[in-house]
Amino acid sequence: MKTEAHTILPFPCESSSASRRALRKGFLATLRISGRPVIVDLSDCSTLNHDDIDLLLDCVAHATGRDTELLLVAGSRVNRVLLEVTRISTVVPVFNSVEEAVAHPNSVKSAKEQIAPPPIATENAEDQRTSQFQGLWSA
């Protein structure tokens, strides 16, 4: 699912090992090509098992390596605690709802950065910084 500025990935509650492999592939591909902040929504999953945490850690590693903005929606207190215990929440922002995640300033800023037109190349470094600034806010 895509909003104007985000890609939202619902996290399924239970899945077989085959479907989990497909899910992992799909998640990592989305993180690779999305070009906009990705929100992984755990709302359908009341609690997480070790496979779920493995997958989330893969996503975090993948997003960090590519400078892709990743946001998590915990969906429940139990998930929130598990994300804290595994320290995922120290590297990825965690929210209670998709609405909160979409409204998060960093995610909005990141989305604007993603859709901003590339700066006009000039020979003057000062001019270049100015055009980047204008590009950011013109989105």
């Binding site: 997480l48 098992n49 945490i53 207190r77 605690v81 804290e84 215990v85």
Partner: protein, 350 residues
Amino acid sequence: MPNGFRVVQKGQCTVELGAVVVVPGGRDLGAIQGTQFCARQASENSRPLYSSRLPILGNDVLQSWIERVRKLGLQNLWLISPTDENAIWSRLRGFAQQGVERLLMITLKSYAEMDLADLLRFHHETRNPVTEALDAQGQLGVRLLDHRAFHGTCENNESFRVPDNGGQTPYQFRGYAKRILSAKERQELVGDALTGACAMRPFGKQIREQVWIGEGAQLADSVRVIGPTYIGARTVVRAGATIGPFASVEHDCVVDCGTIVERSTVLPYTYLAPGLLIRHGLVDGGRLEDLSWETVVDLQPTGLGSRIRRGESRRKTFRENDNSSRTGGAFVWGSRPSSGAPQPWMQVQL
């Protein structure tokens, strides 16, 4: 003459004061003998996460109450487990038949630095049939019952019910008290004991300021211990882990590499996986009660935490040593019937 109570001869045999400690949670009290902390049983109960018998910085709250009862001059007390209310009923009827004048009844749900002699004085002065000890937050689980209160219950053959004080003047306790069945207050008690804000002291060797380590604990060289902190006997803390501040890792735990335990308690026989952050929580085997989010999480399916199976001999050796070192052998546990049936009550010699 009834066994083990202070006896006053007044023509006929009467007992001035008897004492009963009720251990909540329906436990086989025989199993407590020698091995006080049954984490296995605690893990099988969904609520509470832990029993009143689980250690706090290596201390047993039951023993602290036993010490206080002993100071009253009593020679023994009864431990009762309320699995079956008939057990309490039959015990109370026994006290009534023995002519017990007053009964001190302590329900093991709080740690309170209470002078029981002062409670007795208050009870005498007010002449209440029942005197309930309260603090600002309510009942502490300590009651004095006059013979009028519990003899009547026995004679009427009513089903067992602890008589309330019927709106009479309660004993207002203004000293230090915490409810040990509440994870939050338990953690507060840990913090207070570690910083000397209450009389309880960690049971271990103090290796530096506000850091105590139990016998046989193994800490890797790279472990960071930030006081105030307690690490219990035979606990293993692996490389890169951080324990503290305000942490209590009780005996026979394993904290794996890189895990941080901060402002939390880890109950006995708990394994914590590598790289975790345990903050403001209480972990008992595979279950975590998070105090910030006020929620209980099952760590077992995630593989982040689990219960360590323990060797019978190891457990026995530790608790027996622990008992004798604390009390100097001053009290002994009562004998247990030879049948394998769960024992709902037992007598403790003081």
